[in-house]
């Protein structure tokens, strides 16, 4: 549990005729993390990596075209329909099918756009004609007359007189047909020879000409009825075409998944190494699932050769993918670890430690039975996934439940319920009444956590066989001894004689380990046989080493004291809760509704605002004080083949 899953590297030599079946099995089982072997062998004939790459590219091309068509239809690929893994579609079959669907979808889409455009045009005409429906004049008047120029349109009512004035010098008729605000429908008529003057005047008076349907002849009322009937027909046509579209949706989705599956299988095959008659396949899978997987491979053919090498911690850990398989609450806390870094194969996975220490630190800082129960309820609400928009916070809900329970536990130890400390006696102590005591306890807790972190660091250094760092680095044995001797000396200073170890021994161990830490670089090089022992001049090295030691010691002190905040927040939480009740009492007695309004708002503020701050502080302590001592991360993600 303290490590990521044990992995085994597997190499397969598969007779060429079983290559496809093996590719299907690898995708179906969803446990095989494939290594690209295609560059190791140079076969370029049929069934070679190059050949499969080309096929994968062809499938990818079809897939993209189908996706574009789906976008045109406004649909998503959805979930994979059933299990169609066994099929590798023939290009000569799926290509024409894609062509046909693409053509029909395009035709449908064009036709739909055309109908929609005509509908919009109709709406525009109707809007204009509705404004002049009472005009009993057949439009257009004398459309092709050689001598008469006639213009109908809407002009701002305030512009009419000015338009009339501008046309005073020519013979023409400006006739308002339907008065309105802010525009009036007018007819402007004159001699054809004055057309340009009339047009300029109309344009400069902001006369927007009436745009009529082509070939229109009749009164606006007649045309309005015709256009409304046409609009109904167009709407009916849009409905029919939308229904037709639905039938294409199923076809196109089905074809998409067939092509998509073929593309993934072809990609898998393109990463196989190809000899003349065999495929050479390499990859990783969890050790636990190895024997079952071997059986399934042998089920395809007894001729498949399987070579397995279990990845030991330490030696060959560099390229090993890291599989995490935490479940339940551990899976929820795994996301917090991944937020920091992915564990490396050669180091301890801190998920379980985080699952234990995070709620303890949170609960200590936010210890209150009432507030904790509210957090539990909020967590249950999120984890239950009953509210659609909050579904993605289900894992956060689990973390909140655990933290809430820790708050309830510490609330019991502190004797606090919604800030009231007189409901029952504290099972341990009341933070507000024992401030110094609680701060000392939290620093002691911090020392224990940091010691644990240094011990874990020792373990990680040991399994990764970094001998020099194990003995001499600030995170190694010398660092741990120095830290403990400093702690011991500090304890002895404030409580002389409390430790069973004499002061002189602590001092001696402290000096020796300080020297080791100070010269850790040279000593590491010496032990590991690396030369030169130091880079640059001796004097520079000593000055640099001294300041590094100084920084290390300061780091030990500041890291330990950093945990004081746990106690400080416990006190602050109790204080803040008390303030809420003081404010409530200022508003009125407990019979006064204002009292309860202040109490409820104050409690919400504490849970929301202080809860957020405490979460940030807890994360800070975990990431920067605890993880940084032993957890490097940088693992390779385990990505098994699968069709999705």
């Amino acid at each position: 549990m303290l490590f990521t899953q044990k992995m085994s590297q597997i190499g397969l030599v598969v007779p060429a005729q079983y290559g496809f079946q093996v590719a299907v099995l690898l995708n179906k089982e969803r446990i095989f993390h494939q290594i690209d072997n295609s560059n190791l062998y140079t076969d370029t004939g049929p069934g070679s990596p190059e050949d499969w790459r080309k096929r994968a590219a062809s499938y990818a091309n079809l897939e993209n075209r189908l996706l574009s068509n789906m976008k045109l239809l406004g649909i998503q690929p959805g979930d994979q329909p059933g299990n169609n893994l066994a099929a590798l579609e023939r290009m000569y079959a799926v290509q024409p099918e894609t062509d046909r669907l693409e053509r029909e979808v395009l035709e449908l889409s064009d036709s739909l756009t055309e109908v929609q455009d005509e509908l919009n045009l109709c709406q525009g005409y109707i809007q204009q004609l509705e404004a002049i429906v009472d005009v009993a004049l057949e439009l257009p008047v004398c459309p092709n007359s050689r001598f008469l120029f006639c213009l109908f349109g809407f002009v701002p009512t305030t512009n009419i007189e000015r338009l009339r004035a501008s046309l005073a010098r020519i013979d023409c008729l400006l006739l308002p047909l339907q008065q309105g605000q802010p525009t009036t429908f007018v007819m402007l008529a004159g001699s054809r020879k004055d057309q340009s003057v009339l047009e300029r005047a109309a344009r400069s008076a902001y006369l927007n000409p009436l745009s009529l349907p082509e070939g229109m002849l009749g009164t606006p009322a007649v045309w309005l009825n015709r256009l409304k009937r046409r609009m109904q027909k167009l709407q009916e046509e849009i409905r029919n075409q939308t229904q037709l579209r639905e039938t294409y949706c199923d076809q196109i989705r089905s074809l998409y998944w067939r092509v998509h599956t073929s593309r993934l299988l072809a990609t898998t095959l393109s990463r196989f190494g190809k000899l003349h008659y065999t495929y050479v396949i390499q990859g990783w899978l969890p050790y636990q699932q190895l024997s079952e997987f071997e059986k399934k491979l042998k089920g395809i053919s007894e001729d498949i050769l399987i070579e397995v090498q279990v990845a030991a911690r330490g030696g060959m850990g560099q390229g090993v993918p890291v599989a995490l398989n935490h479940r339940g609450i551990f899976h929820a806390f795994e996301s917090l670890v991944m937020n920091y870094n992915r564990p490396h194969y050669n180091e301890i996975d801190p998920t379980i430690l985080l699952t234990i220490t995070f709620p303890i630190l949170f609960g200590f800082m936010f210890g209150d039975v009432g507030h904790g129960l509210v957090l539990v309820l909020i967590g249950i609400l999120l984890a239950s996934q009953r509210i659609g928009v909050l579904k993605r916070f289900a894992e956060l809900g689990q973390i909140i439940i655990v933290c809430g329970m820790a708050s309830v536990l510490f609330g019991g130890l502190f004797g606090s319920v919604f800030g009231l400390d007189d409901l029952f006696a504290a099972f341990w102590i009341r933070p507000m009444e024992n401030i110094l005591h609680i701060l000392i306890v939290t620093v002691a807790g911090g020392v224990i956590l940091l010691s644990l972190a240094y011990l874990l660091s020792l373990y990680n250094l040991a399994i990764s066989r970094r001998r020099g760092a194990f003995f001499f680095s600030p995170q190694g044995l010398a660092g741990l001894m120095l830290y403990w001797s400093l702690i011991g000396l500090a304890v002895d200073l404030f409580n002389p004689g409390i430790l069973p170890i004499p002061n002189s021994i602590l001092t001696g161990v402290g000096i020796a380990s300080a020297v080791a830490v100070m010269f850790s670089e040279a000593l590491t090089h010496l032990v590991e046989g690396r030369r030169p022992l130091i880079k640059g001049g001796v004097a520079t090295y000593i000055v640099q080493a001294f300041f590094e030691l100084f920084e290390t010691v300061i780091g030990y002190i500041s890291n330990s004291l950093s945990y004081v905040r746990v106690g400080a927040f416990a006190v602050a939480h109790a204080g803040l809760s008390a303030v809420v009740f003081i404010l409530a009492e200022m508003v009125g007695s407990s019979q006064h509704p204002g009292y309860w309004v202040v109490v409820i708002l104050g409690t919400l503020f504490i849970i929301g605002f202080e809860g957020l701050i405490v979460t940030i502080q807890t994360l800070r302590l975990e990431y920067y004080e605890f993880f940084s001592k032993f957890f490097r991360g940088g693992g390779i993600p385990y990505q098994p083949l699968e069709i999705k």
Binding site: F154, P156, T158, N159, E161, R162, L163, A165, S166, L167, R169, P182, T183, V197, R200, A201, R203, S204, A205, Y206, N208
Partner: protein, 340 residues
């Protein structure tokens, strides 16, 4: 009110300063100081100082609008809206030229909270059509929606801007004529004078610069005015002799023949002379019987001219132009005659 305007001594002192930085420092000692001092020293460009001085004017408009009697308030609000129309035009130009809000914001008049323009949203709207849609519910919406058809055909802001201007001045004239005779009489030379400047200069520009046809000039101008009448506008549109028309409309204009010999140079001078007449009318309104609407109006217009002249001063100082070269561009500095 009158005491808030810069005195002759102030003008002499400010005109003697030739360095822009020193001039800004000197302005801090005037009524504009309270506004200029709010800006960090490194942000104090001449444009920013102008912007801050306009804030003073905006506040003055706010105070006057709040305290004048109800019957005159609508006219004062409409007069103040002139700056909003200018802001709208500037914002639309910025939109078409793809300028950012940061580039545009300090070129606008600081209209304050009473503006109905979502200027930033207009700048970021992407197209003029979308910008017009944002103006729904404002007094400009119907005018612009109707003119939009021409913008879409011509891809030019000219029809939108003309439509806005005509609509604005028609409404201002309508409100002016609703005033009682006692209020209208002192107000007419000022607002009517402003309208005359616009109408005459529009007509002359359309004819001289843009060579528009008679019917276009008539449709793009107004049929009313204080001293400039529709017959004169229509005569300009019809291509009649401009000098004769100007002599008839402005009989006390000095050297009209000389002035309009080169119309391209003469038009700005004519405009300045007409502004001086309004300036003179504003001073006249301040004298005599004080209980009429013309007094606060005159104060606001004089402040506007004062800021206009201070801007000339600032720009001249920043470009190191000597006083004798820029003095003729100031409305308030000239005696009431024109040096051609």
């Amino acid at each position: 009110m009158y005491g808030n305007l810069l005195s002759r001594d102030d003008w002499d002192h400010l005109s003697s300063i030739t360095d822009a930085g020193a001039l800004i420092e000197a302005l801090k000692g005037t009524v504009y100081g309270a506004y200029i001092n709010r800006v960090k020293a490194e942000d104090l460009t001449t444009r920013r100082v102008e912007y801050e001085m306009h804030k003073y004017l905006a506040d003055a408009f706010g105070v006057v609008i709040k305290h004048i009697p109800d019957h005159a308030r609508a006219l004062m609000i409409q007069l103040y809206r002139l700056y909003e129309v200018d802001n709208l035009k500037a914002t639309l130009r910025g939109l078409v030229l793809r300028e950012s809000w940061e580039q545009i914001r300090y070129t606008l008049f600081p209209y304050g909270n009473s503006t109905v323009l979502p200027a930033k949203a207009i700048t970021e709207s992407g197209t003029v059509e979308e910008a017009v849609a944002l103006l729904q519910g404002t007094p400009y919406y119907h005018t612009l929606v109707h003119a939009l058809e021409r913008y879409e055909k011509e891809q030019n802001l000219f029809p939108l801007e003309v439509a806005l201007d005509l609509d604005y001045w028609r409404e201002l004239w309508r409100l002016l004529n609703r005033l009682s005779l006692s209020d209208r009489q002192p107000t007419m030379p000022m607002i009517g004078g402003l309208l005359d400047i616009c109408n005459l200069i529009w007509a002359l520009r359309y004819r001289i610069y843009y060579h528009l046809s008679e019917e276009e000039i008539i449709n793009y101008t107004l049929p009313f005015g204080y001293k400039i009448h529709d017959e004169q506008i229509q005569a300009i549109a019809a291509g009649e002799d401009i000098v004769r028309i100007i002599k008839e409309a402005c009989p006390d204009l000095p050297h009209p023949d000389e002035l309009l010999q080169d119309p391209l140079r003469g038009l700005p001078k004519l405009e300045l002379w007409m502004q001086q007449k309004v300036y003179e009318a504003c001073h006249s309104a301040m004298l005599g019987y004080p209980f009429h609407f013309g007094v606060p109006l005159a104060f606001l217009l004089l402040t506007e001219y004062e800021i206009q002249d201070l801007t000339v001063l600032l720009e001249a100082a920043s470009l190191q132009i000597p006083i004798d070269r820029y003095k003729r561009f100031r409305v308030s500095a000239l005696p009431m005659g024109l040096t051609v």
